[in-house]
Amino acid sequence: GIQVEQSPPDLILQEGANSTLRCNFSDSVNNLQWFHQNPWGQLINLFYIPSGTKQNGRLSATTVATERYSLLYISSSQTTDSGVYFCAVGSYGQNFVFGPGTRLSVLP
């Protein structure tokens, strides 16, 4: 099945800093989503982005499907951005597979 890798596994930032999270996947996909899992365990949808670029406030994402990677950009980070960020991909006829996540801590 499709393999998903995320980097870095852990990231510590000072409030106000910018960061880039990466997701690599092993096969072509028809679905790619970025999620933020908050400290209460809720998975919050950030982007549905099987290809192209999207922006939502301080967050933006880019997926280069032909090169099998996606990037999530967080600008001017806030303490409320802390949590685990997951990339998940779906490929034709295959299940939705989550990466191992990036654990982000934003310090005040």
């Binding site: 028809n30 679905n31 809720q42 949808n45 779906g90 299940n95 989550f98």
Partner: protein
């Protein structure tokens, strides 16, 4: 509108008991998914329904696990003869169809003692 809801939010049961976990998807979503998340890991796929039928149950770990969606809306995940290794957060998601954006519920935390 209302999101995906799951009940109960927490369930503690003794080893060997039977449990049922419920998922109410977003109205109009024909696709429904169950996942299991262990501590420190990403969610893992269990089963996918398109309408009333299980389109893919390849993620169910063994025959103690079973899920139904009799009317194409609410789904129930059933676990027989629970084991301590079944302890995890069980997540449900729904989408307009396969390949569309998935929306997750808050999960049910199952603890088997």
């Amino acid at each position: 509108g209302a999101g995906v809801s799951q009940t109960p939010s927490n369930k503690v049961t003794e080893k060997g008991k039977y449990v049922e976990l419920r998922c109410d998807p977003i109205s109009g979503h024909t696709a429904l998914y169950w996942y299991r998340q262990s501590l420190g890991q990403g969610p893992e796929f269990l089963i996918y329904f398109q309408g009333t039928g299980a389109a893919d149950d390849s993620g169910l770990p063994n025959d103690r696990f079973f899920a139904v969606r009799p009317e194409g809306s609410v789904s129930t995940l059933k676990i027989q003869r629970t084991e301590r290794g079944d302890s995890a957060v069980y997540l449900c998601a729904s989408s307009l169809g396969s390949g569309w954006e998935q929306y997750f519920g808050p999960g049910t935390r199952l603890t088997v003692t």
